[in-house]
């Protein structure tokens, strides 16, 4: 779709920028990637009053054009780079009217780039409550641009804003703000000549930011570097002087634009009153943990029904299509490979949608920044961020949505560490594995009257996962080199009601992004695993077919029994089975045989597949409701050579340790790649988790043997 006009939305965080974007574009929006950074590129279309189509670009919220991280440098890149396909014809700067002074800083920077700009003045109601009178006409006159008061939340003033967008000039008419040239006269004019830019402030920004900008060639970068040295340019000093000059300009502008209402009682704001409870020494934590428990419960229990529904629908679809389509390898691939893979992707949607509904509410209301405020001190000690708490708790349900939610963490290093350790938390997919193994070796009796031994074992696994996540986070804190200084200068926005439409859009957006971007990898991996588990070298499979068509063998056995036995033979002789045999020497020190080896391989699709694979290997029905049959078989499984039981206490514990640490989840690998944009990170994660899993299993097995 071609747009007649490109409009970029720019503004501070917490100004309602995303709400405005949603109001302008509705469901007509697309989330993509900016190359090289982890910021979502949100674009959408909006039809203007005159019938023209405007493409709206939602740029990341920032307090200034000077980036504090690589992600923030996107704003300047998009605004400045004429060859960028998002380079806007018009910028709408959205301001929080209750805090014009700080908000206008970014405006003055954008204005000096001499891009056509209009102002959207949001949250006029808050300004009114705070006792501020804003003379909009005077502001507009002083800055030389159109100023439109809006309420993004109530969708008021949107038509006027659209009209202003369609009437906007192709030329920048705003008044100059500060004397940019004077900040570094020679440097600016030299850069203007060398790089051929027509704007002083653009040239100055190049001097500050050139190393982040992808549109500069290495030669240009080198030239700017040399010029900086030649004129002994000091970036931070220059920024400090510039910022002070800009605030002087803003003070002059606002002097008669914003007036305080007479007799306005400086009463304590409602936000402050709420804070006295929510960040209280005791209540604060009680409330926070209650909220966390609620979210945790919700992800678990609310998602159970839709997840079963999705799984059942796909099972039904597979069975029905198996009857309708001609039998053959192609049908098998489509139904047991592709459709099963698709089911494995869609089944995550309920958990993702629920977690993001809560996160959206927490962010929207302003509570999330209080969480960071309260938790910062503890989390910082182990290299995490206050905001890491939510992904980590979400990790008890599923690492996939939790890792997606780490985007709320602005600091690169904190975010990476959170992503790295979240999969260590005991997720719901480990539950069936632990249940099976614990009931296999831990006696079901009470100690000290009320404590059930199996329950204690399960709780120990949960606790153990938290401890290991904390230790690993601390280790990563020491290893990872940060590209940014660890700031904690964060706005605490006033409390507001959540915007339900935003909540809905976030749920939809996140689910869609997951299905489209991580789905591809997950489906590919599940097809590969399916092929490996269902096919083997031709001769072996032919022999099995022959064996089971032989009347002397099939003789007295029932059809179901035969089916189970055949499935076992097929799995053993499949590529996965052969691989299981092949890795046996490597896993024997952990106490595992090749049968467990097969389960470890198939578990890579999802950990809970372990139970199903065990069922197939021991020729029983893999129905999760009838665990008893698997349990029974595993209890009586004996080693062929020694005749001793396979699943001793030591083996089961070692296996649990392996599942606690190993990255046996293709979906997590896919989502870590999607969130970090580099294969390096999932590779590091996979490696360290495998090493830990092997080490922990080895030690456990040899201690208990």
């Amino acid at each position: 779709m071609k747009a007649d006009l490109k409009v970029a939305l720019v503004g501070n965080p917490n100004t309602g920028k995303s709400t405005l974007f949603n109001v302008l574009t509705g469901l007509n929006q697309k989330v993509g990637n900016f190359p090289g950074v982890t910021v979502d590129k949100k674009t959408g279309f909006c039809t203007l009053g005159d019938g023209r189509r405007a493409e709206i670009i939602d740029l990341p919220g920032t307090y200034s054009l000077y980036p504090k991280s690589k992600d923030e440098s996107i704003v300047f890149s998009v605004l400045a780079d004429r060859s960028n396909d998002l380079n806007p014809d018009l910028v709408v700067v959205i301001l929080d009217a209750s805090n014009l002074k700080r908000n206008l800083l970014l405006y003055t920077q954008v204005a000096d780039l001499k891009i056509p700009v209009i102002l959207a003045l949001n949250m006029m109601d808050l300004a009114d409550k705070a006792g501020l009178n804003i003379n909009i006409d005077l502001l507009s006159q002083k800055l030389g641009i159109t100023v439109v008061p809006i309420s993004a939340r109530k969708a008021e003033g949107i038509e006027a804003l659209k009209q202003a967008i369609s009437f906007a000039n192709a030329f920048a008419l705003q008044e100059d703000t500060i004397d940019v040239a004077q900040l570094a006269p020679q440097l600016i004019s030299s850069i203007r000549e060398e790089i051929e830019v027509d704007n002083n402030y653009f040239a100055l920004q190049l001097a500050h930011q050139h190393e982040y900008l992808q549109f500069l060639s290495p030669q240009q970068n080198g030239r700017i570097e040399t010029l900086e040295e030649e004129y002994s340019f000091h970036s931070q000093k220059s920024q400090a002087i510039e910022t002070i000059a800009r605030y002087n300009f803003i003070n002059d502008v606002l002097f008669d634009v914003v007036t305080r209402k007479n007799h306005f009682a400086g009463e304590e704001s409602y936000s402050n009153k709420i804070d006295q409870f929510l960040t209280h020494k005791i209540f604060g934590f009680v409330i926070f943990f209650a909220i966390l428990m609620f979210i945790f419960q919700a992800i678990f229990s609310w998602s159970a029904y839709p997840m079963t529904l999705i799984e059942d629908t796909f099972t039904w679809l597979t069975i029905t299509l198996h009857q309708l389509l001609p039998a053959g390898p192609l049908t098998n691939l489509l139904l047991d490979g592709v459709i099963a893979g698709l089911s494995g992707v869609l089944v995550f949607i309920p958990q993702i949608a629920i977690l993001f509904a809560f996160i959206s509410i927490l962010e929207d209301t302003g509570y999330m920044s209080r969480v960071t405020f309260m938790m910062d001190r503890i989390m910082r000690k182990v290299g995490l961020n206050g905001k890491s708490v939510v992904p980590l708790i979400g990790g008890f349900a599923c690492a996939v949505p939790s890792i997606m939610s780490t985007r709320t963490i602005e600091n690169w290093k904190d975010r990476m560490i959170t992503i790295m350790v979240t999969p260590l938390i005991t997720c719901s997919a480990r539950l069936p594995v632990y249940t099976l193994l614990i009931s296999l070796v831990v006696p079901n009796r009470n100690v000290w009257w009320i404590f059930n031994l199996q329950g204690i074992a399960m709780m120990a696994m949960y606790l153990f996962s938290v401890i290991s996540a904390v230790i690993v986070a601390w280790v990563f804190k020491l290893i990872l080199k940060s590209r940014e200084r660890g700031y904690f200068i964060m706005e605490l926005p006033v409390y507001r009601m959540p915007r339900w439409k935003n909540v809905g859009l976030t749920m939809y957006e996140r689910s869609k992004t997951f299905v489209i971007q991580a789905g591809k990898v997950i489906i590919a991996v599940s097809i590969i695993l399916w092929v490996m588990a269902s096919y083997g070298p031709g001769k072996r499979m032919a022999q099995i077919d022959q064996k089971y068509s032989n009347a002397s063998f099939t003789g007295k056995k029932s059809a179901t029994e035969l089916q189970h036995l055949k499935a076992t033979d097929q799995l053993e002789n499949s590529y996965a089975g052969i691989l299981g045999h092949a890795i046996e020497p490597a896993i024997r020190p952990l106490g595992f045989d090749w049968k467990i080896g097969i389960a470890l391989i198939t578990s890579f699709a999802a950990r809970e597949v372990f139970v199903g694979t065990m069922a197939t290997i021991y020729s029983v029905d893999g129905n999760p409701d009838k665990l008893d049959s698997v349990l029974n078989k595993m209890k009586h499984a004996r080693n062929m050579e020694t005749g001793l039981p396979v699943f001793t206490f030591a083996v089961a514990m070692s296996l649990m340790m392996f599942y606690a640490f190993a990255m046996q989840c293709a979906s997590t690998v896919a989502i870590v790649y999607r969130e970090t944009k580099e294969w390096k990170w999932p590779a590091i994660q996979f490696a360290y988790m495998t090493v830990l899993a092997y080490g922990a299993s080895f030690i456990t097995f040899h201690l208990l043997k």
Partner: protein, 71 residues
């Protein structure tokens, strides 16, 4: 006096900064020399702190607050 030494609820005026890099960030957030500033509350675990400056609430760690010198 450093901002980190200001008692809760008392008002102070920013004079200067001891850390250039931090000062750029702080000034962008509205903490400018001459601006009135007060500590609103301290996080339950003693750090960070929440301050009132130029009409809104900002949270920062004590270490960062100690780079702000008051008049």
């Amino acid at each position: 006096m450093k901002l980190s030494q200001l008692p809760i609820g008392k008002k102070g005026i920013i004079k200067e900064f001891t850390d250039l890099e931090m000062s750029v960030k702080l000034m962008e957030m509205g903490c400018l020399p001459g601006e009135e500033i007060s500590i609103q509350r301290i996080a339950p675990l003693g750090d960070p702190i929440a301050i009132n400056v130029s009409g809104y609430m900002l949270s920062l760690r004590k270490r960062e607050a100690s780079t702000i010198i008051l008049q």
